[in-house]
């Protein structure tokens, strides 16, 4: 099937312009305003979007049935599920992973014992970049900001004692995602757990790697093939698994505006949908298992508007452009994480307050799961005490504040609806610009998104330095003597031990079987068969991640970006 017609028009929604007063009372109010002028401040969001002085029914311009409707119904502005948090609260999912597989395994058991419902794995840089712990590129980086997983044996240590058929696991890895998924699947296979029972999410969102996070292994085209292989494999073999978490988080952390985060993320999602359709998959066979990951930043209402708009845009485009019929294909279900970049190194305990506000935005925006950052993360990896406060922050919101009792409690707020309409229109503007460049993948190759983000990030920094944006502790309310904060240190011996384990794993395996699996993989890369099956064979043969990546690079090559700043 051909990729859906890129020329088809993105349907813009109305955008209210309220320059002229709607009635006499408004005219009188505007007259009175002239005598009480605004303070000399930037009244824009942190994304430089104009903020209306006060929204009105006219400026919000909402058509209730068409624009909002009911939760669990098109266009899902008010939420993806009919009962939202009255039925089931969001999943409190704290990202964890540092040091060795065994240490992370301990943290998992700690979090499960403290009431967390889902597990989340952070990998270390060498694992994220396709290098083994004993590779020279891994020097000084093993187990630093996540766990080192070099082979299926590390995966088994990581999940020892964790009931794989009862938890849902989120794994944050992109370039090597197919390899890591193969390790997870083979671990389950070794324990006799059917793949169909595994539940979880793997990030796999390679487009935002080129755009923002910069962790890729191969050029864009073979990368898109691998993503599509995973979508196809999970559709057929792991029906409870979410093969891609389409992520705006990193785009935002790289300095984008909220509108850019929204637009580039959804556009990446549409690109994966188009590739899977081109592979011959029925859109409704895989779309229900696409999920999203957004940032929950500090500009409270803008964030809520962004999350509400995301649901409406995804549902509209999936239905009208890609012909999805299953209502679940229309759902933009998402995880949120509070904004790492909003944390300050100065007066770090103030970060607890920031994170609470951001968490509230995520929840009022209707997230399905949430990670709250620890207050010490601008300084180093989080300590256990800081992680606990972060989790407790979510628990306070859930148990004490009452915000979960009514669905989409801000729906119908003139301001929230107007902001939702505006950011939605901005996203459609970006879709059109990328269409003109030949689509999302082409725009990536032309550095379009990267340039937009670099500009936005530089503008923000200039506003901060000019004092137009005040950040508590940074350029306002500073203190002279910053208190010391306890930080988590990673044992430097850990790297050597992990490297030794990986060498041992290679020494203990059947070398002929391993080499054959790698050779078969290289051969498969030359053809167009689904690569997940040869990857499973590599995992079973205890091939290491670095070996597997090298076997694929023989055919796919690597990718160097032209940096724009």
């Amino acid at each position: 099937m051909a990729i859906a017609d890129r020329q088809s028009s993105w349907t813009p929604r109305h955008r209210a312009d309220s320059d002229t007063p709607a009635n006499e009372a408004e005219a009188a109010w505007q007259g009175a305003l002239a005598r009480t002028p605004d303070r000399d401040e930037l009244f824009t969001t942190m994304s430089a979007a104009e903020v209306p002085r006060m929204s009105t029914p006219e400026s919000a311009g909402t058509d209730y049935a068409a624009d909002l409707g009911y939760p669990g119904q098109f266009p899902f502005t008010r939420g993806v599920y009919p009962s939202m948090y009255r039925g089931k609260p969001w999943t409190q999912r704290q990202f964890a992973g540092f040091g060795t597989a065994a240490e992370t395994n301990e943290r998992f058991h700690y979090l499960l014992a403290h009431g967390q419902h889902g597990l989340s794995v952070a990998f270390d840089m060498p694992s994220l970049m396709g290098y083994d712990s004993d590779d020279e590129h891994a020097l000084g980086e093993v187990g630093r900001e996540g766990v080192a997983v070099d082979s299926v044996l590390d995966m088994e240590r990581l999940f020892e004692g964790v009931p794989l058929d009862e938890v849902s696991t989120s794994m944050t890895i992109n370039g090597p995602a197919p390899i890591i998924l193969a390790y997870y699947a083979v671990m389950a296979e070794n324990r006799g757990i059917p793949l169909a029972k595994l539940s979880g999410t793997i990030q796999t969102d390679i487009l935002k790697e080129y755009i923002a996070q910069k962790e890729w292994l191969f050029p864009p085209d073979p990368s898109m093939r691998l993503v599509t292989d995973m979508v196809e494999f999970c559709t057929n073999e792991m029906p409870r698994w979410h093969p891609i978490s389409i992520s705006g988080y990193h785009i935002r952390e790289a300095g984008s505006t909220a509108a850019q985060e929204l637009a580039f993320t959804l556009a990446n999602g549409f690109a994966y949908v188009e590739h899977a359709i081109a592979r011959g998959l029925d859109v409704d066979a895989f779309a229900p298992r696409l999920s999203f990951f957004f940032n929950a930043h500090i500009d409270f209402f803008e964030e809520i508007a962004k999350l509400r708009a995301a649901r409406r845009i995804w549902a509209t485009v999936m239905r009208d452009k890609y012909g999805a019929k299953d209502p679940r294909s229309l759902l933009c279900r998402f995880h949120c994480q509070t904004a790492g970049v909003s944390l300050t190194w100065q007066q770090p305990l103030v970060n607890v307050a920031r994170t609470a506000v951001e968490a509230m935005a995520a929840i009022l925006g209707g997230c399905q799961s949430l990670h709250t950052n620890s207050y010490d993360e601008a300084i180093a990896l989080p300590t256990e005490a800081a992680v606990q406060i972060a989790l407790r922050t979510q628990q306070v919101i859930e148990e004490e504040t009452g915000v979960t009792s009514s669905i989409d409690p801000l729906g119908g707020s003139y301001f929230v609806e107007e902001m939702t309409n505006r950011i939605e229109a901005d996203a459609y503007d970006y879709f059109r610009q990328m269409d003109e460049l030949g689509g999302t993948v082409e725009a990536v190759k032309q550095n379009f998104q990267m340039r937009e983000i670099a500009d936005a990030s530089f503008r923000w920094q200039q506003e901060v330095e000019a004092g137009q944006r005040r950040i508590v502790g940074v350029n306002a309310y500073q203190v002279q003597d910053e208190p010391e904060v306890a930080i988590l240190k990673i044992d430097p011996n850990l790297e050597a031990e992990q490297a030794a384990r990986t060498r041992q794993a290679r020494a203990d395996r059947d070398e002929a079987v391993a080499q054959k699996a790698l050779a078969d993989l290289t051969e498969a890369c030359r053809g167009d068969a689904n690569l997940m099956y040869p990857l499973l064979d590599c995992a079973r043969a205890t091939c290491t991640e670095g070996e597997i990546v090298r076997a694929m690079r023989e055919v796919f090559g690597s990718w160097t970006e032209t940096p724009v700043f």
Binding site: M125, M129, R144, Q461, V474
Partner: protein, 134 residues
């Protein structure tokens, strides 16, 4: 043009968090310096080679992966081995206080952590490298 400060902005190691590096690169360029940005995933060897090739007065190293205590001393060592020990090295990233002190001890000119104004870096380089401009 004589008298222009030349700075290599470098991203060693595997982490791809380049927002800071790019903002600094642009701010230094706007402040009239000549900026060479290495791009991502550079080894210490590559960074030192670039600095020597470009006859740089300073190297700004951006690291957010936690590998600074391995990578920065390696860069210093290689600079000294190449007879370029006079190149001013500054480091930016999530660097704990103890590590920052250790890096300054090792000869790093300054360590910048999140939230410090870019203007401070510009001022520091202009002062430290005043001899270039004169």
């Amino acid at each position: 043009m004589a008298g222009k400060i030349r700075v290599v902005i470098a991203k060693p190691g595997l982490d791809g968090h380049d927002r800071g590096a790019k903002i600094i690169a642009r701010a230094l360029r706007d402040a009239g310096m000549e900026v060479i940005y290495t791009g991502l995933h550079q080894t210490p060897q590559q960074i030192v080679e670039t600095a020597i090739q470009e006859d740089a007065h300073a190297i700004g190293v951006s690291i957010l992966s936690g590998a600074h205590m391995t990578l920065v001393p390696k860069i210093m060592e290689l600079l000294e081995a190449e007879g370029a020990g006079d190149v001013l090295v500054v480091v930016g990233g999530t660097i704990p206080k103890d590590d920052a002190a250790a890096l300054r001890e090792r000869g790093v000119g300054a360590v910048y952590t999140p939230g410090q104004p870019v203007a401070e870096i510009v001022t520091f380089l202009n002062e430290k490298l005043a001899h270039v401009a004169s």
